[in-house]
Symmetry: C2
Subunit: 407 residues, 2 copies
Amino acid sequence: MTGSLAEGLVCIDCGAAHPLAYRLECERCHGLLELRYDLARLATAGPAAFAGTGLWRYAPVLPIADPAHRVTLGEGGTPLLDCPRLARALGVRRLLLKYDGPNPTGTVKDRSSTTAIAAALQFGYRVTSVVSSGNAGSSIAAYSARAGLRALIFAYERASAPKLLHMAATTPDLVIYQGVYDDLIVHWDRLVEEKLFFDCGASRNAYKHEGKKTLAYEIAEQTGWVPPDVVVAPVAVGETFIATARGFGELTRAGLIPRAPLMVAAQATRANAVVRAFRDGTAIAPLKIGYTVAEGLAAGNPGRKGEWVLRLLREGQGLAGDAEDEEILEAQRRLARTEGVWAGPTGVATLAVLTKLLAGKRLDPAQTICTIISETGLKTEAELPSRAGTAFDYESLRRLVTERLGA
Amino acid sequence: MTGSLAEGLVCIDCGAAHPLAYRLECERCHGLLELRYDLARLATAGPAAFAGTGLWRYAPVLPIADPAHRVTLGEGGTPLLDCPRLARALGVRRLLLKYDGPNPTGTVKDRSSTTAIAAALQFGYRVTSVVSSGNAGSSIAAYSARAGLRALIFAYERASAPKLLHMAATTPDLVIYQGVYDDLIVHWDRLVEEKLFFDCGASRNAYKHEGKKTLAYEIAEQTGWVPPDVVVAPVAVGETFIATARGFGELTRAGLIPRAPLMVAAQATRANAVVRAFRDGTAIAPLKIGYTVAEGLAAGNPGRKGEWVLRLLREGQGLAGDAEDEEILEAQRRLARTEGVWAGPTGVATLAVLTKLLAGKRLDPAQTICTIISETGLKTEAELPSRAGTAFDYESLRRLVTERLGA
């Protein structure tokens, strides 16, 4: 199957149906829109609906009808790593990492960028834009370049050095903003209305959002269509979490998997508006936040998607947790040394949260748990080890090696 | 087919056959060894011999018999990107990039690390070691951690910041050496004889070398078993070049592809010992080299593998070329802006060389040319754009956007 099964957009609040156009909210109630598909046809076709490799293997459940619009850098198809050594360390029966570092720009953002830029082409736009802490900016700039579109990227002043270099390399239109994501996004989101550019932001665009759904499809297929009991997903404004939950929902309704995993929302403690609301049983109170090492999670006001995450958590009897910066950095070190996976702080916040939930007996350790690791460690900026080198001859080298190895 | 078709080791100089043991050179003449396979069985099975995803899809043509030894971080299966815009800019009919950035540690090294560490387990070693400019060190450390082995990594003092952070994160045994690769490798290669650790170096170990062969298998399969006319591969000591050429050779002999591509060897001008020898029709004269931005190509003495590259070039009527640092950096910028691929200087040296060969009419522009891009740009250290940010309100943001877009 190479076409798309997308049928239309539906308001998540009032249920009103809308045609497959570039529309960012419900005409009736201004609610967020989500894409709907012909799941009956997916149920009939089964896994045979999916062909090819990478993210576009799941084209039938993505909203891009014309294959010529499917701009690709080879995203998706990332590894699902069984981690027995780390599982033992955490005291859980089975631990799987969905490691999204091996994407073209090193993060999960490539999943949504490919559908965002494809949709920009589908709807005839020549300019894209996004407000970013660094990862989305790199990714949207890269996919825009690949499509021959212009990308106006707004980047966080504290973005790490590798992220800044990446953005500056891929677009001539890089603008550094003062403050945090929350400070700019309110103004930028207003500009989206004027249609000066295609909306590549995380607040509203259902087409952009949609690519991340393939996380669920890949996890399901990589586990032989019997997904893990629990999936831990990061939450900044909630895009990855919602998309993954929606993917598992579609797979369940189409009968491709027996049941959807329990979803866990992971945040940095320094930007934990969703976790607080979930814990307190309240609506979300936006937070005034500062810096967190998990740069990509630095959103104090997750907006309407935050409310959507809360609703999914409450409906699905999910869990939410947060981790302090030092716990996130400890998870980063531990993952590198234990399993050889070098992930960034934004990427390992999920693992730090999982560690705490297991220690606090909030999760059943007899289950199979999957953690989404959303970012490579190669985008990390941190204090370097000393570069002071040693000049070796054969004897001094031999001495060092035998001493180190205790031989 | 899940087993290995490896039959033994053969000396590339005298042709003597050796059993499948951990042996680094010919007992008779000290020549380099290469692995040999039952290609008749591969010919009979055809592409159906390959199953699963990623690098270990090609397990039948890799020398690891026991699946339990196949340590993986999800390497291989990287994209082959058709680049029509860049092809037009270079004046070539069709240009394909084999982009190896989306590997677990961001480079082609993961292909050889997975077979190196698997072989270390196969032969009962608990400690690994390598001398590296940064990429091999990161990769061997990561795969060693994944396997629960200890990794003694010798890293170049001028390795980029992301490479240093990566190595320090993945192994507690990181040693920084003064000078360049050539200065240390002669001493370290002597230590290999004492079997204090498993040889993860590029000089001799046929098992380590072997994983990179999958580049050829992937390129062949991704082009429907009709590979491109020309493949451009980087040469430091020659591992990637030789492995790729060997892979195409096996595929040709097994009848899976009609003919092997013409191979082009690409070096940095500042470390161009192989290119000089090829151009002058001489043996290789080792060079005393300094720094090049293509850190991973900084080897002035490619040793016996350099001679092997030369022989393959002369036998296969291949080509060789080099590029200056500024040309390499220009290729890096151009690739990012034209196709959205952010690759490191080590990774784009091939593209810089290809650009020169096309400009000099050394290659037929009516052909299909594939360039191996061996490294992500996320490991690049360079001068940062200014982080001075602007505080926006709605009006100032709107003004900036409309001015930038000329609206």
